[in-house]
């Protein structure tokens, strides 16, 4: 399940919707990314996330397929927000559903590493008096 949306979400509800389909799932690893109040030693008030939606969908689909080749995964959930997000807001949720914990841990990390590197989202950070587009070096 892939969702690219402006709105906030409830992780418990989103995860339960998928978990309820799979009684063989014993392990769910979830990563949630948040807007931090500081970045590169600057006080952040909010960010504005630009997205290339169609490409992000394609990329997420591709990475989930790749993860399913590498690990025994029952299901996968990616929710990525865009638009204006205040400090403490969720940005992204990645959840990997599997029978055993090793598959869910490793695939969740794999998807997040990929997502940070390749997914077409761009952060514009807003400080007290100015704003700045971030460059991702890692």
């Amino acid at each position: 399940m892939i969702k690219i949306q402006k709105d906030d979400f409830n992780s418990e509800e989103e995860i339960n919707k998928i978990k309820s389909l799979h009684s063989n799932v014993g392990a769910i690893t979830s990563f949630t990314g948040y807007v931090r109040n500081k970045n590169n030693n600057k006080k952040v008030n909010s960010i504005n996330l630009d997205v290339y939606k169609e490409m992000a969908f394609n990329q997420f689909n591709k990475i989930i397929s790749e993860a399913k080749l590498k690990w025994k995964l029952t299901d996968c959930l990616i929710i990525h927000r865009y638009g204006k997000l205040d400090v403490n807001s969720k940005i992204v949720l990645v959840s990997s559903f599997s029978e055993h914990r090793k598959d869910s841990f490793e695939s969740c990390k794999f998807i997040m590493d990929y997502l940070k590197k390749d997914a077409p989202f761009w952060k514009n950070e807003f400080y007290d008096k100015k704003n700045e587009w971030l460059v991702n070096y890692g």
Binding site: G33, L49, D50, V51, Y52, E54, M55, N58, Q59, H80, I91, V92, M112, L115, K116, K117, D118, A119, P120, F121, W122, K123, N124, W133, L134, V135, N136
Partner: protein, 81 residues
Amino acid sequence: MKIKYFAWIKDITNNADEEINSEKINNLDELKIFIIKKYPDLKKYYDKEILRFAVNQEYIINNINLDANDEIAIFPPVSGG
């Protein structure tokens, strides 16, 4: 063909997307030359290899042929998650 711009590239093009069709543009390299002529402020980023290109939602590094139905996106390195 449809061209899309993202992040601060939009501030240079003053446009999120536009239709560009020219007999001179048959492949991605020719499109790059066209775009940089149209938006000279993009040149320094192009020269520093800061610009990324996607054709039909796929990253493209080498040159490929383009036709009128293609969607080409130009953007800086990503910073999602």
